[in-house]
Assembly symmetry: C2
Homo-oligomer: 406 residues x 2
Amino acid sequence: MDAPSGCAWPPTPDFDSWPVEHLPVEAATDGRIVTVTWDDGRVSRYHAIWLRDNAAEPQTHSPVTREQVGHPWDLPEDLAAASAGVAEGGNVQVTFAPEGLTVAYHPGWLRTLDYSNGPRDDLGNIAPTCWDAGSLEAPPAFDGTAYLEDDGTLLAALEALKEFGIVRLRDVPTDEMAVQRVAERIGTIRNSNFGFLFDVRTAPMESRKSADSNAYFSGALAPHTDLATREYEPGLQLLHCLVNTTRGGQAIYVDGFAVADHIRRTDTALWRAITGIEWTFTNRSPATDYRWRAPLVVLDDAGNPREIRATTFLRGPLNVDSGDVEAAYAGLRAFQTLAAGDRFRMTFDYAPGDLIVFDNRRILHGRTAFDDASGERALKGCYMEREEVLSRIRVLRRAIRATSAI
Amino acid sequence: MDAPSGCAWPPTPDFDSWPVEHLPVEAATDGRIVTVTWDDGRVSRYHAIWLRDNAAEPQTHSPVTREQVGHPWDLPEDLAAASAGVAEGGNVQVTFAPEGLTVAYHPGWLRTLDYSNGPRDDLGNIAPTCWDAGSLEAPPAFDGTAYLEDDGTLLAALEALKEFGIVRLRDVPTDEMAVQRVAERIGTIRNSNFGFLFDVRTAPMESRKSADSNAYFSGALAPHTDLATREYEPGLQLLHCLVNTTRGGQAIYVDGFAVADHIRRTDTALWRAITGIEWTFTNRSPATDYRWRAPLVVLDDAGNPREIRATTFLRGPLNVDSGDVEAAYAGLRAFQTLAAGDRFRMTFDYAPGDLIVFDNRRILHGRTAFDDASGERALKGCYMEREEVLSRIRVLRRAIRATSAI
């Protein structure tokens, strides 16, 4: 069904669309609340202040920036809906007192944003599907060129990334800037003290004498997250294999949420340890001194894992109540032993052109040791934030909705 | 007192120093705990696993990267301290079973890191001093050239920034890259969809037809934080005035923590509203669609304000329980009315060369309207994270400690 004419919302046609699936049959007000009855019998109740704040009219929302230019705290304290009705075409029309302003509300918009009939998800998060080595043998894979050139492939890859926390692009061109092009298909890159882009590569020993990270050597790296020393660990990491002729250096990836969930289901004391006892993470460089305190698994308000904090080779001395010390180590041992074990660990060889994108606050990454005399190994990487993924998904879905409506 | 010889910690001399103010007189172990008695009578108790994990020896910590290369989860489960004693020079020496490894612990380090005699602050945060227009007339001011060239001035400015949430550098050179030089004295810049550096300047009307922010127009901007649409609001913002010959456009800065604290002390219902009811913040651009839900004031675990979330002109439609709608608006009205009022609002004119650095998750900023026909107005800005400030403070203090020890 088309939007009725005279509808001022949405302010521009290329943004969210508000399909009209039901029309209002009646609208009435007691001054404080506007009650709308729909053609399927639903009754929605909107507060006058809510309607006035969301008025699609130029004194409230700028037609150019789409941002508010009028503010609810500047409205009269005795603001009320003086009258409400259904206008021709299906708009709900409300006149506000004491202003005398009349505003039309688009029925698709009004129905979608109804908050009086239960909670509504307005972020559009994609719930994680936890995996172990048995349920996910390899990261969901996408062709690198298709990812770079086709929005449908990009959207599918980002949806898989949100769900599994990891995707693998194949045959991405192995030039030094490709990882930036892949990142910028999503959004902005996060700068860090390791640079805008960073290199993890075999190098002459001479240049490593002042190296600031174990990653720059050839030893094994236990599964870990990056930058737990920061208030906000990077939400996303990209690692692009440019060259790999060395023996060893297998990729290791582990779903930290799955490991945490396993501990939650099997051992209450360990669960308390990994979610309740804070480690101090410290960076050890002449130039920077980042520090942060957090448990290995940080929970959200609902008690589910929100992020894994496990740059375990950047742990500073544990600084907690004496009674928690042994529990903290037991939790760390359980978590890391599970993460490194066959049940949870996904392993594969990096091929040149492979580009792994993963949620650095969920997926642990590591590698087996490699023999750096046996060849050359070069990864190029960068960090981003999780929110860039969701923003890009929303924008891509907008475009697909707009196309399918034609 | 000098460090005893043979001490392996700290691994390099330019990092943290561990002054020896007390020496151990006795060390003993029951296998699980090493008990150290100091020359002032203090008794400290260290777990064997804690000592082993923190061993300053090359199988545990890389002498090059200073990161852990040995991990506690790889140690034998029956690890114990087989013997402990005080060595010549004051090191505490511990031999571990079943490994047979003997490790020396520096007395200054061991005493500082004692966790058995009450909690220890290992982050070195600087507590905020809340201010209003009566207690702080203008931001603490520092000479821009001194800030750029002298580490003592830089440290003093950053300490003031942590305490008050805002500092003003004067007479910073008004070239386009100066804000980047000022930022990089602290640390890395945070990229955003507005760019690595961004401009807020008077512009021909033509170029504003597709502007994505109210900031690009000449209207008043109510006190606000930036980017509440992101999971992590930028912790820091820098605004550098290059030119200002317009009438109006006065700077407004407000300590959001002080406003929150005032509400906490005066109105329980409003406090619940601003700290407990989530607004949805949404960005409205053809290219991005960032969204986040948060209350206006986000509390830390201790119940104190951790951050202000008040990009109020990026509020999406309120999406909460019907019973909370009017309370949410009452809280918003109270918060923004106080923030815009004379009691809390600091105002001043930007002079060319002024560069304001402020905590974007604490300090609200805004401006009065200006007449863009009356002249030219150009601000250049960028974002950073709070942690960059603390890291730089710690590194500068290291250097000062090292110098004063000579």
